[in-house]
Subunit: 249 residues, 2 copies
């Protein structure tokens, strides 16, 4: 059985072409089948779609990826499941943003949405493998299409949360490939925080924290001096944090 009054939606952020993107879809009941376990649940979803013209009308509108919470699913676990099925990735950084519960945020019926944000790197995860590939698309964060319901507000809240988080916790790394250059990292922060950073100071700060691992590798086939590749190690971060490291950008 699904809980008609509760939906779980994921704001999936991706970083490519030096831009922050959000993954949206045009949902149809048949796609939601992927997230559900019983036929009964699918029937229930179909009824909701029929009752709500705005949902059926999704040729024009894009929406956040998610659906109603089944009774037998753990809340955090279900958000993770939605992401796994959508992206094919097992270990995704995922964080609850907040629950939206204004009266009339969705016409015709009452639903609270528990929003999560997730961070992935689109260059390194081929979404073509996803069963939802045809319905799903990346949009630049400052060039979003028309979205359904209050999805815009949810995305904005999530972005704000990401911005707050990225300054004090090393979460930005989840948007980069395993091995990355300091310039990529800097660009990422510039894009998320929407401000220019001083290269020399940025490098000093990051390297002084001592949580990047020098992979002893360099970029290849670039038409300029090849940059060193670093990786981020959560274990090292946890150790340093215990010793009193304060991560700050």
């Amino acid at each position: 059985m699904i809980l008609r009054n509760i939906s779980v939606d994921c704001v999936i952020f991706g970083f490519h072409n030096e831009k922050l993107h959000v993954l949206l879809w045009q949902a149809e009941p048949e796609l939601l089948e992927n997230f559900l376990t019983t036929k009964k649940e699918l029937e229930e979803i179909k009824i909701l779609f029929e009752k709500n013209p705005a949902l059926g009308n999704s040729q024009e509108f894009w929406g956040l990826i998610g659906t109603h919470l089944p009774t037998e699913e753990d809340l955090d676990g279900y958000a993770k499941k939605i992401l796994q099925i959508t992206t094919g990735i097992e270990d995704i950084y995922l964080k609850q943003v907040r629950t939206f519960g204004a009266l009339d945020r969705v016409p015709h019926y009452r639903v609270l949405t528990v929003a999560y944000y997730a961070l992935i790197n689109p260059n390194y995860h081929d979404l073509k493998l996803s069963p939802l590939a045809k319905a799903v698309k990346w949009f630049e964060i400052d060039n979003l299409p028309e979205v359904i319901f209050d999805a815009k507000e949810v995305i904005e809240h999530s972005l704000k949360k990401l911005r707050d988080e990225v300054k004090y916790h090393p979460v930005g790394f989840h948007l980069l490939p395993k091995k990355f250059t300091l310039t990529q990292l800097q660009t990422l922060y510039e894009v998320i925080l929407d401000e220019k950073l001083d290269t020399r100071n940025f490098r000093k700060k990051i390297l002084n924290m001592g949580l990047l691992v020098d992979t002893n590798e360099k970029q290849k086939n670039v038409a300029h001096r090849a940059a060193k590749l670093y990786s981020f190690d959560v274990e090292i971060y946890n150790k340093l944090k215990e010793e009193g490291l304060n991560f700050r950008i």
Copy 2:
């Protein structure tokens, strides 16, 4: 109608006797009547209580103040309403913590709890006026009674959120009277953050930020040098923030 699968619970923090406290209650359906608008809702609540032995058994267990969300109530608005009815105060600082949705967090039926935390100053708000006064009690944060369901976890999450927040935003003032001394403010921070702060440095830092208003008043009838009384002005804070002030403790 009430939404059986969604409850709204408030972790109400108060600061007195140099300790941080939480307001808990022993809920009974009759008390919940105060939060509800129709008789039908009360009947629905009563049925839930009957179905769930742990709820009826609340002579032994204390719980968070809150109840199921009625269909016609806005989520944030309902949290505010719960607080107003409980405390009689109109303007309470209130913040959504997160939504708890583990599978067996409440036995016998599935319910998600949207948790909020609130900050009030018990010395300056007489809860005896509340219709719930007899069921409600302050507990020291590190001397809590046995609590129902996962209330402990919810309280701990809320405290963590408060700690994170208090460092970077001037929310601590909501726990103090309108006019307070710098020593009170320092004690408050020491209690919330659970660490000693250097008095001289603390005063310098706070006063340099320039967001406290000198009321030109002093304590009266104290058996020692009377301290100056300050107040906090949100308007001033907002102005300073626009000018780039970074609030940090």
